[in-house]
Amino acid sequence: MRASDAVGRYGERVAVAHLEQAGMVVLARNWRCPLGELDVVAMDGACLVGVEVKTRRSLAYGHPIEAVTYAKAARLRRLLGQWLAVHEVRAESVRIDVVGVLRPPSGPALVDHRRSVA
């Protein structure tokens, strides 16, 4: 599991860099509660965004984005509600984004950012 943990952490670093470049302010990373874990919590203007990051090294098992199902996206939305309940943050709206990071054996990582999936 260590190798894949390392890939996951690498993917999250790439994703955070991508989000910050897109003008979002990262508030928290790897926030855990009994319901599960939010990879990244960020503000996009006045909108609070929960971000799920999926990283893969090849397309052999499908695109990383495909690994996020609607059920999972719905769970992330509940998690974001939990996060709001314990933090003093005000947001006009909330949304869930998914960032797929594909890290081929050579060359730069490919980032695919899907906004507002749930």
Partner: protein, 515 residues
């Protein structure tokens, strides 16, 4: 992204409806949504389309894909929508020219490797498409011959999804002709309507042969009653050989039914010979009249449309099966209602029943050999209900063949000779009824026979008396008139005389003494 559009055909019974297939690709989590009343086999199409597109070298994009089959209220079933769905999705993904594919009808099932598999019911589907003005049609190459039978259709037979993508100006990785062409499943074995032997093989049985000729000439229903081994089955299987070829419009109709049931081999073109169906007596009602879950499929009775439905050992059939045949015998059509829709299948067949006179089968003539109890004997034939038998015009006893008949010198007439006489009699009927839409005497309504074509009172005297004493129903009366006309057509003349009517009466009541 553009909207992907193309067309397909949904079959309800024999009727085809042109379906617009449209696909939209929206940002979001990857999903493939299929809407527009698909059934289970059609919903599985999503997974086939995904795999086939990937293996053809143009994968479905991992976005939110929505495919709509419209009109959305019409239930759709089967795998023949695969190709149209794939083309619409790839059009939406701009992997092929959506404009080019919009006006083309696509039919076919996809294999996971991108190969196009043949489907049932291509003939009626293409017919419906052409009637709706959609003449450009893409079908699996194994169905191309069948689709080309429809006049006016511009048919393209494709081997793989990649072929179709290239036709519409897209790029596909899979080279042409790499995969072999899969054959049509189920269209093996005997072609429907193959003549079952020559009439010359039947020894003796002059009465029964005559009845067979009359039945063939006028399209009358026939009951053969006799002991085991007398030749009932042999006689019945020779009936299709006596019937003339199907008219072109009949041929299309019959072929369409066999295309839906998957019993049609397009290699031989349209079916031009009358079909022959002989379901076993254990057959269920659904297998004979058609049916099935969801939307119904045709049964033996419809597959025998414009041909012969032969029920050997008729009393052994379930009574529900026999009674279910009463409706098509009157209307020439089977209407099957299910929760999800009503399907109509034509079923204008000629019914031939064969039966033993009793369980042991020996109760012929004086019946001295018969070992059955009286009650058992009575019960046996009573399984053929009155209403059913009332619809059977010719009821003939087939007696065992004696040695004298077997060795007697004259060779029996062959199918060719009798078929020629039948054809002549049919020609006479066609010219007599040409103003109306009837083709044979058996189709003429009784009101016409008793109205415009009324016979002289002297001619029908015997018949009138039978009706008066209640030995005959009104329907039976009409049916005897029809046979009388057929007898006339076989011997030549202008109008049936008293002898024709008398003979028709005996041919119908031949079995009454035995029962």
């Amino acid at each position: 992204m553009p909207l992907g559009r193309t067309q397909a055909v949904a079959l309800v019974g024999l009727e085809g409806h042109v379906i617009d297939v449209e696909a939209d690709i929206a940002p979001g989590l990857p999903a493939f949504v299929l809407v527009g009343l698909p059934d289970t086999s059609l919903a599985e199409s999503r997974d086939r389309v995904k795999a086939a597109a990937a293996n053809a070298g143009c994968p479905v994009p991992s976005h939110r894909v929505t495919v709509n089959l419209s009109p959305a209220s019409l239930p759709k079933h089967g795998s023949s929508f695969d190709l149209a769905i794939a083309v619409a999705v790839l059009g939406a993904a701009a992997l092929l020219d959506a404009e080019a594919s919009a006006a083309v009808v696509h039919l076919g099932e996809l294999g996971l490797d991108g190969r196009l598999r043949p489907v049932r019911g291509v003939l009626p589907a293409v017919l419906a498409a052409v009637r709706a003005g959609r003449t450009r049609i893409v079908v699996p190459s194994a169905n191309a011959a069948e689709a080309r039978l429809v006049p006016g259709a511009e048919v393209l037979g494709a081997v793989t999804l990649a072929d179709v993508v290239r036709v519409h100006g897209g790029q596909a990785r899979q080279p042409a002709g790499e995969l072999s062409v899969p054959g049509m499943p189920g269209a093996h074995g005997r072609a429907p309507g193959r003549a079952g032997g020559d009439l010359a093989d039947v020894v003796g049985q002059a009465d029964a042969r005559r009845a067979l000729e009359i039945a063939a000439a006028g399209g009358h229903h026939l009951l053969l009653l006799g002991p085991p081994g007398a030749g009932k089955t042999m006689l019945a299987s020779r009936l299709p050989g006596l019937l003339p070829d199907l008219e072109p419009d009949e041929a299309v109709e019959v072929t369409a039914i066999h295309s839906i049931s998957g019993t049609f081999d397009p290699a031989h073109g349209l079916l031009h010979r009358p079909p022959f169906q002989d379901p076993h007596h254990t057959a269920s009602t659904v297998s004979v009249v058609g049916g099935g879950s969801g939307l119904p499929r045709p049964g033996s009775a419809s597959r025998a449309h414009r041909g012969v439905l032969f029920l050997d050992e008729a009393p052994e059939f379930g009574s529900r099966v026999l009674e279910a045949l009463r409706q098509p015998l009157e209307s020439g059509e089977l209407v099957i209602a299910r929760a999800r829709g009503v399907a109509r299948f034509p079923a204008r067949f000629q019914l031939v029943l064969a039966a033993n006179p009793c369980p042991c089968g020996l109760s012929v003539g004086k019946g001295l050999e018969c070992r059955c109890a009286v009650a058992a004997r009575r019960r046996y034939l009573a399984r053929l209900s009155g209403p059913l038998l009332d619809r059977v015009d010719l009821q003939i006893q087939v007696l065992p063949v004696s040695r004298v008949q077997m060795v007697s010198g004259t060779a029996p007439e062959g199918t060719d000779v009798v078929a020629a006489r039948v054809a002549e009699a049919r020609a006479v009927q066609a010219s007599r009824w040409r103003e109306s839409r009837w083709r044979t005497n058996s189709e003429v309504p009784g009101s016409e026979l008793r109205g415009r074509w009324r016979l002289a009172p002297g001619t029908t005297r015997d018949l009138d008396r039978e009706l008066d004493v209640g030995a005959l129903t009104m329907r039976g009366y009409d049916r005897i008139l029809r046979i009388a006309w057929t007898l006339l057509d076989l011997r030549g003349g202008t109008t049936p005389d008293r002898d024709d009517v008398g003979l028709a009466l005996t041919l119908r009541q031949h079995t009454r003494q035995a029962a």
